[in-house]
Amino acid sequence: MTSPFIEVKHLVYRYPDGTLALDDINLTIDEGEMITFIGQNGSGKTTFSKCLNGLFKPTGGDVIVDGHNSKTTPIVEMVRRVGYVFQNPDHQLFNSTCWDEIAYGPRNIQLAEEEVKERVEEAAHVVGLDKSYFKEHPFFLPKGLRQRVAIASILALRPRVIIVDEPTTGQDAQQSREIMDFLVELNEEHGHAIIIITHDMPIVARYAKRVVALGRGHILADGPTAEVFSHPEILAQTFIEPPQITQLAQRTQDQGFSPGTLTVEEMIAQYQQLTRT
């Protein structure tokens, strides 16, 4: 049996000012997984993600990615394996054209210009960024597109794992679904493992396969979405409550609904089942 792609063992992380952010985290992530990290503001989701790609070095314990321990591996090596898309695209757009922006990563890892070109075109294609934007300044683009450029710029490094921090904050329902559909496509058709950090429970219910709930530096729950959402008392510890449709199903368990109901469609299907005569 092959070992998991990312292995986190007894990870402890303290901020430079001494605050304990992560306390004894153990987790494994396989290639091609689709995971969401949930938890209240300040629960350690972002810090944990930054430990996964080596931006933060563990204070204790180990993060091993594809056989490389983040403590001893240079960050350049780490980011080639685990890409991290920051929440605010404005923090990560440094260049004056979209082309340079996407090419920035591959150039940093000193690829030949031909290879850089190939990767830029591929990444732009995957995120659906039209060639006509290549010469535009990323700062001029609307937020949705800036986010796509940011994702493309990470894709160009061809990491096996991509972490996306709060991709749906500030987006409307339609835009959120478009972004999520796109991430699912990356996961299913291109085989990247995707980790999504989010507060948006209807989105989690609809898209997540595995949910990791973090609270006060610990993993409170880890499992399939329906299972994690079946324990509202655990989620409440980290200020999460399941979407209303799940809450409705939980309150009507006696009538035969499953506490792990995630979407309206599932609710309807169960209703049909229950009322079939």
């Binding site: 004056s96 535009e136 300044h137 700062f139 001029f140 683009l141 609307p142 937020k143």
Partner: protein, 210 residues
């Protein structure tokens, strides 16, 4: 500021001239701008002062110049004000005594004022569209930094007895070079990258105050 892809191009003249019916007045936004410029200058300037120090707030490569000159080109007198004030903070962090910073004010003000004046007077395009724009910027940078470089070591450092007459040239060249080189590196990039957006925002200052 969001979607500005399909808009007609402004000419350099239009950028600086008031359009018919255009009303501009000083408002809260300028106060905010002033504060933000001081804030960014504080950080960026301190960064330069700590990274490449020559002493007494003089550096081989002073990143703060970009905030001074680009800030004043975009935001007129507010940029000049910010440029005069923020070195206080950034120098303090790098250990420059209070009264030395106070005495630097004229040098910092001129360094910010001159490029801003040149762009307005010669109607140069802040997006740097032509060779002329580049030349005007470069000339303004050189002249203003030369003033700063001469004034500060001679008047301030000599005045405080920090330097001997013979070592003044080193500090003059240090100040001058530190500003011009950093200016060349940053001013061009910032103006080229962001002017197109800035001139369309309500914060852009056409005259001196609004």
């Amino acid at each position: 500021m969001e979607n500005q892809l399909n808009q007609e191009e402004l000419t350099a003249e239009q950028i600086w001239e008031l359009q018919p019916g255009e009303k501009r007045s000083v408002g809260v936004i300028h106060i905010v701008l002033l504060a933000l410029l001081i804030g960014i200058g504080f950080v960026v300037g301190a960064f330069g002062s700590i990274s490449f120090p020559l002493g007494f707030g003089v550096n081989f490569f002073w990143t703060g110049i970009a905030v001074q000159q680009v800030g004043a080109i975009w935001f007129g007198a507010w940029g000049v004000l910010a440029a005069s004030i923020f070195p206080f903070f950034s120098n303090a962090i790098s250990g420059t005594p209070f009264y030395v910073s106070l005495a630097y004010i004229p040098a910092n003000a001129v360094q910010a004022f001159l490029p801003a004046w040149a762009f307005r007077y010669y109607k140069a395009d802040p997006r740097l569209k032509s060779t002329r724009d580049y030349l005007i910027l470069l000339a303004a940078m050189i002249v203003s930094s030369a003033f700063g470089a001469l004034y500060s070591p001679l008047v301030v450092l000599k005045g405080f007895g920090l330097l001997t007459a013979e070592s003044v040239p080193l500090f003059i060249w240090g100040w001058f070079g530190g500003n011009v080189v950093a200016g060349i590196v940053f001013n061009f990039i910032l103006l080229k990258a962001l002017s197109g957006v800035v001139i369309r925002t309500p914060s852009f200052v056409k005259k001196w105050w609004a």
